[in-house]
């Protein structure tokens, strides 16, 4: 899983997944973002090996698909930890101590934003507003929003991620 894929490594599993998902969207090139989201949900990341298959299915150049994958923050080129925690760094959360929260979390997990913990349990990422600005500071654990986050709440979240 953690092995790096290269352009030459045309893993059939990844290419097949890409083709199947593209077909679900009628191979429509305008659905590329949706297709990439689904592929990432399925494989955990967007492997390089999937790109030529996607380009072919959607009748796009490989450069076009690559350009889209790299433009958007959501698409990851490498597998993440078992859980992804996004910490809001935007203004409303800043006003409630988000910067201090980020430092505390980084110390607690012993990783920086953008990194994965040594046990592979958690990937820590920055977010810029999660729409929970009245209950700041906010984090998102996978798809679940958490508000009014403090050290104690965060420790509970981490314990759940690791259990």
């Amino acid at each position: 899983m953690s092995q790096k894929t290269t352009l030459l490594d045309l893993s059939p599993r990844e290419a097949t997944a890409a083709r199947e998902i593209a077909l679900r969207y009628g191979n429509r090139p305008d659905a590329l973002l949706e297709i990439l989201h689904d592929l990432q949900e399925h494989l955990g990341f967007i492997p390089e090996a999937a790109l030529p298959a996607l380009a072919k299915a959607l009748n796009l150049s490989r450069a076009e698909v690559h350009g889209v994958v790299t433009f958007y923050h959501d698409y990851r080129r490498e597998p993440a930890g078992r859980h992804v925690i996004k910490v809001c760094r935007a203004e409303a959360c800043q006003s409630m101590g988000a910067n201090e929260l980020v430092s505390m979390i980084e110390r607690f997990l012993k990783v920086k934003l953008g990194q994965t913990t040594a046990d592979g349990a958690i990937t820590l990422e920055a977010a810029y507003c999660l729409g929970n600005c009245a209950l700041s500071p906010a984090v998102m654990v996978d798809d679940k929003l958490v508000g009014r986050v403090d050290a104690k709440k965060f420790e509970t979240i981490v314990a759940e991620c690791r259990s």
């Binding site: 429509r28 090139p29 305008d30 659905a31 590329l32 973002l33 949706e34 990439l36 989201h37 959607l58 076009e64 350009g67 889209v68 433009f71 958007y72 923050h73 959501d74 698409y75 996004k86 935007a90 203004e91 409303a92 959360c93 800043q94 006003s95 409630m96 977010a127 810029y128 507003c129 999660l130 729409g131 929970n132 600005c133 009245a134 209950l135 700041s136 906010a138 998102m140 798809d143 679940k144 929003l145 958490v146 508000g147 009014r148």
Partner: protein
């Protein structure tokens, strides 16, 4: 057993609404997952249906559930009385958010019972031009930030001749301090569907998209559910309510790019491309999605339309001040005691919102700055809190109302750090198309660092001001064009934060 309401809104869920709902269900109560009333500081808010109305308790934690006198709706330290009488709600002017929080958001029959689809029913009997005239009459201006008159935009699309037209809803809501779009989509999604369908009928479009940011998984799921229900009930899809009108609506997810809230970048993204900004002209109303005439509006703009059709443009226009007509759902956020959604007519002062509704800061310390209108909006000093919320008043003060986000900071805020963040954010989110924005923002961070460090302070402050001017004048879109607004407002109103002794600044 009683009927109780516990919101499914993601903000309510973020502080334990699911756990509270499950515990109430376990006690045998009938639990309805409603939208949020917007009194977010009271979430999770539990409402009990009684013959005297809905009695509320909040904020309820899982540990409180056992002690709640649900059967009698009686006394408890968390009892708030009839929720409709709560001053935070009662003193609002809810036109758009009139229904939010009352019912199960995806129930078509609940929606219809509360006046839902009255606007669409009317629109189905009108010519396109008459619908556009009603929207124009209302004075509605785009709620996404720029405040462009919605009626004029629709008329351009109506008058354009094309074999295909589109309706696109901008639900990218990237501004910090805003969550009204999210609350509509999670709490009253059928209203957005109704507004978009009215737009489609008005301009002759048959296909539409809701572009929702990926940070909103609950909104995405709720919108999809509501669309499916609307189609099943024949309020959406082919031959709406047996007429010859057809409108197909699809949800599309963003992928974590603030710039995709800019309308032309959103169109690129909807076409499956990198979210870079298109030069204008051509305007999207003439050459938009796939090169076809396209109505692009914010969630709140579309959401205002059902009321305007049902009650008439004049009824809407009767609210507001000056050229800012109707109401705006303001969002009270950040360091505020009573954060939430407050829909008021334009003209309400910033002070009323922040102090009367908001109750001041969460920390209890004095207010120092308020960022209004998102990350590209100005920092307003506490001394200007008596300004009325009005597009023109704010513009005259080099500030902006934007999408109505109000983020409060107490006296501990470091305004040089906030100015630096504005530049940093622009550098992170720039689409890269033009130099003043792409390079200027990174330079901006460096220059502010030097100023804070006390290096050639006067020269660097001047350099920063020049840089801001270049960004304002030379950027293709408002990302680079407006980032100077928060930066320059911080310097103007809080110069002392840029002039600390170097030793102190280094701390």
């Amino acid at each position: 057993m009683s009927k109780v309401f516990v919101p499914r809104d993601s903000a309510a869920r973020s502080v334990g609404a699911d756990e509270v709902a499950a515990a109430l269900a376990k006690l045998g109560h009938e639990v309805v997952r409603n939208g949020s009333r917007g009194l977010l500081f009271l979430e999770p808010l539990v409402e009990v249906e009684t013959k005297d109305g809905r009695i509320a308790y909040g904020p309820v934690t899982i540990d409180d559930v056992a002690s709640l006198p649900i059967a009698t709706a009686g006394a408890h330290t968390l009892r708030l009385g009839n929720i409709e009488d709560h001053p935070y709600l009662k003193n609002q002017e809810r036109l758009t958010f009139a229904r939010c929080g009352i019912t199960d958001p995806v129930s078509v029959s609940d929606y219809v019972k509360l006046g839902g689809f009255d606007g669409l029913k009317k629109a189905l009997g009108l010519a396109g031009a008459a619908i556009v005239a009603e929207v124009t009459e209302s004075g509605l201006r785009g709620r996404g930030g720029a405040g462009f008159p919605t009626g004029i935009k629709w008329k351009t699309v109506l008058d354009a001749r094309a074999d295909q037209k589109y309706i696109c809803c901008n639900a990218d809501e990237g501004d910090s301090g805003t969550f009204a779009d999210r609350m509509v989509m999670e709490g009253d999604p059928l209203m957005l569907i109704e507004g978009m369908t009215i737009a489609a009928i008005a301009v002759g479009a048959t296909k539409g998209y809701v572009y929702i940011r990926s940070e909103y998984p609950d909104a995405i799921a709720t919108m999809k559910e509501a669309i499916a229900n609307a189609v099943a009930a024949k309020w959406l899809g082919a031959n709406i309510q047996g007429t010859d009108k057809t409108f197909h609506l699809e949800v599309r997810r963003g992928a974590g790019a603030y710039i995709c809230g800019e309308e032309t970048a959103m169109l690129e993204s909807l076409e499956g491309k990198r979210g870079t900004v298109r030069p204008k002209p051509p305007i999207p109303a003439l050459e938009g999605l796939f090169g076809k005439p396209t109505v692009i509006n914010n969630v709140l703009s579309f959401a205002a339309v059902p009321f305007i059709l049902a009650e008439g443009g004049t009824a809407y226009k009767n609210y507001g001040m000056g050229r800012s007509r109707g109401t705006l759902p303001f969002q009270l956020a950040g360091n505020i005691r009573q954060g939430g959604l407050v829909e008021k007519a334009f003209g309400v002062t910033l002070r009323e919102l922040v102090e009367t509704f908001g109750g001041g800061t969460f920390t209890g310390k004095p207010i120092r700055a308020i960022q209004v209108g998102g990350p590209l909006g100005a920092y307003v000093p506490a001394s200007q809190m008596d300004m009325p919320m009005d597009y023109e008043t704010f513009a005259a003060a080099q500030a902006m109302v934007g999408h109505g986000g109000i983020v409060v900071f107490d006296e501990t805020v470091d305004m040089a750090a906030q100015a630096r963040f504005a530049m940093e954010f622009c550098a992170i989110e720039s689409c890269g198309k033009c130099t003043p924005c792409r390079i200027g923002s990174t330079r901006g961070v460096e220059v502010i660092d030097k100023i804070v460090a006390g290096e050639d302070r006067d020269a660097n402050l001047e350099l920063l001001s020049d840089l801001c001017q270049t960004m304002t004048d030379g950027s293709l879109c408002a990302m680079g064009g407006l980032t100077p607004m928060p930066v320059m407002s911080a310097i103007k109103h809080f110069p002392e934060d840029f002039d600390k002794p170097a030793a102190l600044a280094a701390e």
